[in-house]
């Protein structure tokens, strides 16, 4: 099932499928070492449209809410 990252609950894991934001966003994600195919865990969300904290391969990354909304993930059952 493919959903946006913001629809994934806290402490759940999923696989990144794609970024819905064009070439610029893709480049930015790659530069920070975030690739489609990577497994992530949504560790924390901050209230009031605050950022998300995800973990990829043991590395924690803060993502602004707008960016998080553009990440399409797939939940593996």
């Amino acid at each position: 099932m493919k959903i946006q990252l913001n629809e994934l609950g806290e402490n759940r894991s999923a696989k990144i499928v794609s970024f819905s934001g064009g070439k610029k966003l893709l480049d930015r994600m790659l530069q920070h070492g975030i690739y489609p195919g990577d497994k992530l865990i949504l560790k924390r969300t901050a209230p009031m449209r605050g950022p998300y904290l995800i973990e990829i391969d043991g590395r924690e990354i803060i993502l602004g809410r707008m960016i998080a909304n553009k990440i399409i993930v797939e939940i593996e059952e």
């Binding site: 530069q31 920070h32 070492g33 690739y35 924390r44 901050a46 605050g50 602004g64 809410r65």
Partner: protein, 568 residues
């Protein structure tokens, strides 16, 4: 011989650099502390060589100016060995850069840093295996404790001039980040053995420190304690220091006399020396120790996480909190750190707002005048007012320049236990900057002030800014200290002694005047050094725009402060 340190942000390049070069590069448990190139001659393993500390970068494609610095350096300079510093706890991502570096026809030495953390994470890494797979030499390293440093440079020296023989399997994906990513993570997997990780207190800390309620409360508490701590230490040291120096100055005056020009100049200069010891250092040093602790622990990115939604309200995002926090130390590095922001618009707003942040020089004015005479709560109030004005300015600027960036991507480093040496060195490094760059100016400024007063010249300067002092309801003698504040903000306080003819400012200034004067000093025109840095980073036009803006804000807020004060 020249070795270049290359690696991802926060992998410990500067820590390694400082181990051998003495404390010359800024460090902090934060991504992108180093935004410029630091070079030093180093002696290790019986040889002298050049060591270059380059800004951390994820890739060599470079999306922000700090990252481009690294690529440009490697493209255009002769380097004998690239020392690729790797955070071994995040091997898969670290190796991506390693694979990209293979395109340079230069021997690469892989420094596997943070091996102590690797153990803590329950991992085992086969460094030699990894090295022989890639065709590179690897050395284990714990840069923070200085372990493996000597061996590293001995290896590097051995590598100079040796033929570059990399495994051809890894030479091919120069322009394909996807296959690089895949190859790097396969490599990492092959040579890492993950056993059970033991969760420690450190891993649990974020449950509280990033909690929506407890996290923000802790943040407020930490900042409050920080503020109280600085004030407490400063207040303890300032009065006895002042007394001590004043008795010396009185004695010297007794010898030379205070009615001739020599006596006046000597006293003026001594008062500048006194200001450094008694007014600046007692507040500056504890402040820098506190800031260094927060940096090295890794708390700053947590603040970015907590503050992101608030920062969006002033048109920025959480990552821009860094220039703000650094700004409390000094605006110059704050402006420099806006380099890590990707958008030009973000850089401008962050630079404009961080020049409004009261740096430690202005802290000295706030503590020396407002806190000392009116009480610490007034000083705290002034800081809150300052935050409010910054927020308002941010809103105004983001109305003019609407937000375009989708937000931040920022790595959250693990908590690290700061070493005493690193925190002290860092504070000392920054104090030294004050002593070399600012203190002489303070002393000379104080001397000039004395001469101006002796020959009764100060009044001509006072007339220049009389419109301002008049509008703000300040005595005209404050004109000269105000003008000299553009050079160094501390001068505004230091020169008061001469301008007012007494060190007991409470006897000549009303509380309203003190508050209004300090408010004006906080906001008006960044000091010369800051202006120069804005010009360098953003351009001349932006510098004038920011300077004009800050003057406008200072006048408005100063006027309001005066008028409100007059009501009571």
């Amino acid at each position: 011989m020249r070795f270049a340190l290359v690696g991802r942000p926060n992998c410990g390049k500067s820590t390694l650099f400082n181990q051998v070069a003495g404390y010359k590069a800024e460090t902090g448990n934060f991504h992108g502390t180093t935004v410029s190139i630091t070079e030093s001659k180093v002696r290790a393993g019986g040889q002298i060589f050049e060591l270059v500390d380059l800004p951390g970068t994820y890739t060599l494609t470079g999306s922000n100016p700090a990252e481009r610095v690294t690529k440009d350096y490697l493209d255009n300079n002769q380097v004998d060995v690239i020392i690729n510093v790797v955070d071994s706890t995040f091997l898969p991502q670290s190796l991506e850069l390693t694979l990209e570096l293979l395109k340079y026809d230069v021997p690469i030495l892989l420094a596997m840093n943070m091996m102590d953390e690797v153990v803590r994470y329950g991992m085992k890494i086969d460094g030699p295996g990894l090295g022989s797979e890639l065709g590179l030499k690897t050395v284990p390293l714990i840069a923070s404790k200085g372990r493996g440093v000597k061996g590293l440079f001995l290896e590097a020296i051995k590598l100079v001039g040796s033929p570059v023989e990399i495994n051809s399997r890894f030479g091919a994906f120069e322009d394909d980040p996807f296959s690089r990513h895949k190859a790097a993570s396969e490599l990492a997997k092959k040579f890492t053995l993950q056993t059970d990780r033991q969760l420690s207190l450190r891993d649990r800390a974020d449950d509280i420190l990033l909690h929506p309620v407890w996290g923000n409360l802790t943040l407020a508490l930490i900042l409050f304690l920080f503020f109280q701590g600085v004030y407490g230490v400063g207040k303890l040291i300032e009065p006895p220091m002042l007394e001590f120096f004043e008795s010396i100055i009185t004695q010297i005056e007794g010898y030379i006399g205070s009615e001739n020009i020599v006596g006046v100049i000597v006293t003026g200069l001594l008062q500048g020396v006194m200001a450094g010891f008694a007014i600046v250092l007692p507040y500056l040093f504890p402040f820098l120790i506190g800031l260094g602790l927060l940096e090295d622990i890794g708390y700053l990115p947590r603040i970015a996480f907590l503050m992101d939604s608030l920062m969006h309200r002033i048109g920025l995002h959480g990552k821009a909190i860094v220039p703000f926090i650094l700004g409390y130390g000094c605006n110059v590095p704050a402006i420099m750190s806006t380099r890590t922001l990707e958008q030009g618009r973000d850089r401008f707003i962050a630079a404009a707002l961080s020049t409004l942040v009261p740096c430690s020089a202005r802290l000295v004015v706030v503590f020396g005048l407002v806190a000392f005479y009116m009480g610490p709560m007034w000083a705290l109030g002034m800081y809150l007012l300052n935050l409010f004005v910054i927020a308002l300015t941010g809103r105004f600027l983001s109305m003019l320049l609407p937000e375009t960036s989708p937000g931040m991507i920022l790595e959250m480093p693990p908590y690290r236990i700061p070493t005493f040496k690193s925190v002290m060195n860092k504070a000392w490094f920054r104090v030294k900057e004050f002593m070399i760059e600012a203190w002489p100016l303070l002393i000379i400024g104080s001397g000039i002030m004395a001469i101006l007063i002796f020959y009764d010249l100060a009044k001509y300067f006072d007339i220049l800014v009389r419109p301002i002092t008049w509008m703000l309801g300040l005595p005209e003698e404050l004109g000269v200290p105000m003008i000299f504040g553009v050079l160094r903000k501390e001068l505004s306080l230091v020169m008061l002694t001469q301008a007012l003819g007494t060190a007991d400012y409470g006897s000549v200034l009303t509380y309203n005047q003190m508050f209004t004067f300090t408010i004006f000093i906080i906001f008006f025109i960044p000091c010369v050094a800051t202006m120069m840095m804005i010009k360098k980073e953003l351009g001349t036009k932006q510098m004038y725009a920011i300077t004009g803006l800050t003057f406008l804000i200072a006048m408005v807020v100063g006027l309001i402060s005066r008028l409100v004060g007059d009501l009571f």
